[in-house]
Symmetry: C2
Subunit: 407 residues, 2 copies
């Protein structure tokens, strides 16, 4: 055929999670892989009523083209919610609706990244951000991170050593994949350093509202005084991922660039799904709805932590996230989580091996576990399968198994 593709195609690879989603769509596989919100919390009946309302109110406009920035009612609803929840002074004009927050990442690449530029991110970092940024020819500086968030002194050192610093990408609340939440101190430090090095900061906050315990911490977007934070979030985890409605809030000089990039990407997010979300927010108590999701996710986190403690050897490190959908496992060296995953898939349980979250290598001993998408009894069954697979893993002989663990 003799067809030539763009160079960037070589850097594209199928997302481990998306491939897993396909796999787990078939058969009796318990999947802790994809970051699915609980099926039980998806508002099926409410959507039916809301669509009736949208079509009655908007008629053909609900099915016609709309503006790139997004539907006025939804932009206003998002701005209102951000004012109330984050204490920021923004209006609908400061909001761009996106086709899920994955699009916000793609647009971020378009707006900020030239070939050879460097993205500074946590280690580990969100794998779909790697997939979004890499095709723009970006490299990654994965900054050492601990239980308080990114180690900002390390970030500063790395920024100073880099001539092509393009942006800092972070998930400060219940990070994907680690589940960790940044301390206030680290948030303030990050903004100071970003100010000093004049880099934009992209704050990805899809899980922020899913806090199970402890005090909410201010968003970077709320703390920013320099007009350099781009905030992105989504209705995927608090309402429905299948609607693909996310958003960006940013200072206008930044947002304008995103609008231009989005225009060329898909003209606009579907009118109907936008109006469904804004009508849902108008007709229902979104806070109460989110409280329900939070409760289910917390129960599942607890069930997952119990099952892991009960069935896995104590040498396996487990994070305890205060919210969100994910926790992070670390096998003792030299055990390889990719090998473990292969054994797990054969036994009908899936997760994502940690290497997917490391743009420059690493993470071979780690695994991301999503606890939110699986009902409780299946969580324990899945962990039992993981434990059984782990027993088969070369090098697992030296592990100390819990005395009550099932083989």
């Amino acid at each position: 055929m003799g067809l030539r593709f763009a160079n960037r195609v070589q850097s594209m690879k199928a997302s481990a999670v998306r491939e897993m989603l396909k796999l787990t769509a078939a058969g009796d596989v318990i999947s802790f892989a994809g970051g699915l919100p609980p099926n039980e919390c998806l508002p099926v009946d409410e959507t039916q009523a809301v669509v009736a309302r949208v079509l009655a109110e908007h008629g053909p406009r609900a099915l016609q083209y709309s503006t790139t920035e997004g539907c006025a009612s939804l932009r206003a609803a998002i701005a209102g919610r951000m004012r109330r929840r984050l204490g920021v002074e923004i209006t609908a004009e400061d909001v761009l609706v996106t086709t899920g927050s994955q699009q916000a990442l793609d647009l971020t690449g378009k707006v900020f990244l030239d070939e050879g530029d460097v993205v500074f991110c946590e280690s580990p970092t969100y794998l779909a951000a790697i997939s979004a940024f890499r095709p723009f020819g970006a490299g990654f500086a994965d900054v050492p991170s601990d239980e308080h968030g990114m180690v900002v002194t390390e970030l500063e050192r790395m920024l100073a050593a880099c001539e092509r610093r393009a942006l800092v990408y972070v998930v400060p609340d219940f990070q994907n994949p680690s589940g960790r939440t940044w301390s206030l101190e680290r948030r303030l430090e990050l903004l100071q350093v970003a100010e000093r090095y004049e880099v934009p900061v992209v704050e990805d906050a899809p899980y922020r509202e899913l806090r199970f315990e402890g005090e909410e911490l201010p968003a970077l977007f709320s703390l920013d005084r320099g007009g350099r934070v781009v905030f992105t979030s989504t209705f995927s985890k608090i309402l429905s991922p299948g609607l693909r409605v996310g958003w960006i809030a940013a200072p206008l000089p930044l947002l304008e660039k995103y609008v231009l990039a989005k225009q060329a990407a898909d003209l606009h997010t579907p009118t109907l799904t936008q109006l469904i979300v804004s009508a849902f927010v108008e007709a229902h108590d979104l806070d109460a709805h989110i409280a329900g999701i939070r409760r289910v996710c917390r129960e599942r986190r607890d069930a997952m932590l119990r099952a892991l403690a009960q069935h896995l050897p104590r040498q396996v490190g487990v994070t305890r996230p205060a919210g969100g959908l994910f926790l992070w496992l670390e096998l003792p060296q030299p055990l390889d989580a990719r090998e473990w995953l292969r054994l797990c898939l054969a036994r009908g349980v899936a997760f994502v091996a940690g290497d997917a979250f490391h743009p420059n290598g690493g993470g071979e001993h780690a695994a991301r576990i999503c606890f939110s998408g699986t009902p409780e009894p299946r969580i324990e069954e899945g962990v039992k399968r993981m434990a059984a697979a782990l027993r088969e893993l070369p090098g697992a002989g030296s592990l100390s198994w819990p005395t009550r663990a099932a083989a």
Copy 2:
């Protein structure tokens, strides 16, 4: 603030059409600018019923994440329709669902275009394709085109002279903006030349089903024997643009690259809108629905041609499209369509000036007129306003006005 954007941001500009859409959303403006299908044909009641069916049948799955390739039922429906309508042997596996066909253009840029590559296109060409390809650093070779389509001998000459030929982009049926349709001969010639120069061909076919008269001609995708045609179309003009459901059909080695690019762009097209489209196609006779759209569009084309003949000077060139949504006006030199547009906007009527469709300059004397989005009486009123504005245009004194034309 000191923030630095990617170089490509300089090449991004707001689409003339999208900006016009915003403008015309307010006040008593008659817009011939955006390519809107008739509001009267948007299936509002049917959508209500279809959503009920989708939610009953799929439950939470309709609101959950789905695969990047698209929902199985929709991919199968698209493949089935293409088999029947285009006589091509494809299956659901050959189809990727996109978030409108604008996304197909963006993904085309991602898959094929490196900085400095050249896209070969008709002259004039679709402005949103220019916006989609330019951010990837592509240049354009706009190939002379006449009423039979692209002049392929010119294309061949230009391909031979170019070292960075990346792809040929064409709209063979009822082209946007000119309204012209390629002859069979030109289609066959194009494929021969593409084969000889080993370039992929992107066939953008959103208007193909909206033929008012004459014989349907085979799609390039149907004629292709070399596996080098990427076919893209959309439900925007035959069902609803607000749902943003388009697709790509292509040989698998090509389609696989598009899937990877889409994964990073927005994970997947909204599950709900995909299921709405596939359930609509299942529950209703889409051919009959399209016949209704075709009838309305044809009536509006005729009303537009009548009004233009009645109110504009005979020196204004007017194409007579055999289908689609658009026709193309050419003012006699040295009249400037951009000036005319300014005067028109002041009188409450909008179109898109021809320069927007010329990536390398030109088209200043031309205008794209969309006839499909405006009911008949408003069409004549809009053309009267255009005529009144034209009388004010510097240099218009020498035009011969129809004797019955209203001032």
